[in-house]
């Protein structure tokens, strides 16, 4: 069996990548993808914990399924907003969407 630490390390790396993406990227879609990366790191954590620490119960797995669902809805919503902004202004860059102070 692969030790639990490996999963956690993987998850931490993926999470950190996601955080970096959110902070470094200026394109709304890229930010969203980075957030997805973070959420997947969370999923890895949950599934790994569920498999290793909580045998017989599947709370972690259920949590992961719900996170996937919510993330999908979130992306759907965010894309809808990006599209609306794009139609009004023709940009998906967060920097250019600066009628207000950022």
């Amino acid at each position: 069996m692969v030790p639990l630490e490996n999963y956690l390390a993987l998850s931490a790396i993926v999470f950190a990548l996601g955080v970096y993406g959110v902070l470094a990227r200026r394109n709304a879609v890229m930010i969203l993808m980075s957030v997805e990366l973070m959420l997947n790191a969370v999923n890895i954590n949950f599934v790994a914990f569920a498999a290793y620490l909580d045998p017989g119960r599947i709370v972690g797995a259920i949590f992961a399924v719900f996170i996937i669902t919510v993330a999908a809805a979130e992306v759907g919503l965010a894309l809808a907003i990006v599209i609306r902004l794009f139609r009004n202004r023709a940009t998906a860059n967060v920097d250019e969407a600066a009628t207000m102070k950022w």
Binding site: M38, L85, R89
Partner: protein, 499 residues
């Protein structure tokens, strides 16, 4: 057996939400403000149903949700907020084009129900889902003005940062789950209390991430960046909604989570909350001084208010159930005062902006001349925010700070008081515009729409009532705060008795 009856008030709310959406969909020619009144009626029914759940013994739904006085408190609060915001919107949306009003009102109700679930959740997944339902509703509501670029932008920034923060929150949850092996609050508390060694670094990181996530929801600095933009871009009633419901819901979640699940490690997270409180109130009030836009001003001022409230959360971690109870009831009563004040402010602002069309502070010039009643309501609300006597903010803020004062927190209470002094300065700048300057153009008195007039009047009375006779509000809050600590103290005594 499963007790579905616990959710009857939320069934009503969601039922009305569906009804409103369906009505707009299938009867597009219906007068739109009927939807608003229907929503308000639904909120009343919801409120009435919620009253029936007061003063009952706590009852759990499958260990996921608990119906006690704390939940009931937030349920009533949510119903009240939805009621007011719906009526406010009825007037506001008349002049907006391209708004899907059915969705608008439906989402108000859904968001309100989500807040109830957040308050009652006793399990991480339930809490998370409720949080997301609330957030999603707000994302849409902020961007509901489809053709308004600012509204679109606000919504985009809100959702991007919101998604980021919920990812942080979730990562924290996953670490806590990993350490405790369960997602139920009680189970986490038990697991943490039962371990031999001190605080696990993973759990510490998890708690900090959770703190960051909920800090975002209540717009605590440094996680507040979304708030001014979202407030500015959102339609006025939604700004009111954001600054009341979303904050109250965030605090409901924090209170239940930190007072039950994480109570063992209070020593560790207390300082984080204290620091957060100090930074939040200072940043909020200092930046508010420079604002020109009313909504941004309110945004920063509400960030300042959040700073005060976070002191109570820090006091929660003092480890003493009595102090926790005091702090919580103080927080709840201040929340009530804050919400009533904010709603009063916004119903007056909605009426004023509908006439002047300007959301700048300078747009209120000479309001005392053209509409003295609105000027009075705005002044009263601002004074209440600043914590001047006669108004709700004075008594409730005093109770809150008093409840949160411990030997260690006295410095931050002093900081809070200093901050409310700073806040008075920028409130006076608004009041100055209304009273000291002549209106632009001719000073014609204008009429306020009757609904808004009534709302503002009732809320003004509310501000005065709470300010001058806070007893009932306080008793109610204390009653609501008790369930959080009864179980904790019972568990503590049980632990002591165990060999």
């Amino acid at each position: 057996m499963r007790d579905y009856a616990l959710f009857i008030p939320e069934y009503i709310a969601c039922g009305v939400a569906l009804l409103v959406i369906a009505l707009e969909l299938f009867a597009p020619r219906l007068r739109k403000d009927l939807l608003a009144y229907l929503t308000a009626l639904g909120a009343v029914a919801w409120f009435a149903a919620g009253l029936a759940f007061l003063d009952r013994d706590p009852k759990s739904y499958q260990g996921l949700f608990i119906s006690d006085d704390f939940t009931a408190f937030f349920r009533l609060l949510a119903a009240g907020i939805v009621f007011v915001v719906a009526l406010m919107s009825a007037e506001f949306l008349k002049r907006q084009r391209g708004v899907d009003q059915g969705e608008f009102y439906g989402l108000l109700l859904v968001a309100g129900s989500a807040m109830t679930i957040m308050a009652g959740a006793t399990e991480l997944l339930t809490a998370y889902l409720a949080l997301e339902v609330l957030s999603f509703s707000l994302y849409v509501l902020v961007g509901i003005l489809k053709r308004d670029l600012r509204s679109n932008e606000a919504s985009l920034k809100y959702i991007l940062l919101g998604a980021f923060s919920s990812a942080l929150f979730l990562y924290g949850l996953s670490l806590v789950y990993g350490a405790a092996g369960t997602t139920s609050y009680a189970g986490i508390a038990e697991a943490f209390a039962g371990r031999d060694s001190g605080l696990d670094p993973a759990v510490a990181v998890g708690m900090m991430l959770i703190l960051a996530g909920v800090g975002f929801k209540v717009s605590a600095a440094p996680f507040h960046m979304w708030a001014p933009d979202a407030y500015e871009g959102a339609p006025l009633p939604i700004t009111a909604f954001l600054s009341t419901l979303s904050k109250a819901a965030g605090f409901a979640l924090i209170l239940r989570l930190f007072s039950t699940a994480f109570v063992t490690d209070a020593e560790s997270w207390r300082w984080a909350f204290l620091a957060l409180a100090a930074v939040t109130m200072t940043v909020g009030n200092l930046i508010a001084i420079q604002q020109k836009n009313l909504k941004r001003l309110v945004a920063y001022s509400s960030i300042g208010q959040v700073g005060y409230m976070l002191i109570s959360i820090a006091a929660l971690g003092y480890g003493d159930a009595q102090v926790g109870l005091n702090a919580t009831s103080g927080l709840l009563v201040h929340l009530v005062g804050y919400i009533v004040t904010t709603l009063a402010l916004f119903s007056a602002l909605t009426a004023a902006v509908s006439r002047t069309g300007s959301e700048e502070i300078a747009g209120l010039r000479g309001l005392a001349e053209t509409q003295p009643f609105l000027a009075l309501v705005i002044t009263a609300s601002l004074f209440s925010f600043a914590g001047l006597p006669f108004f709700a903010g004075f008594a409730t803020k005093l109770f809150m700070l008093q409840g949160a004062t411990t030997d260690e927190t006295i410095w931050i209470v002093a900081l809070a008081v200093l901050n409310s002094f700073i806040s008075l300065y920028y409130y006076l700048m608004v009041i100055r515009q209304m009273y000291l300057f002549d209106p632009l153009g001719e000073a014609v008195r204008f009429r306020v729409q009757p609904v808004l007039w009534g709302l503002a009047a009732i809320l003004l009375l509310g501000i005065l009532f709470i300010g001058m006779y806070p007893g009932p509000a306080f008793e109610f809050s204390e009653q609501a705060a008790k369930p959080l600590f009864e179980s904790a103290s019972a568990a503590a005594s049980a632990r002591v008795q165990a060999p």
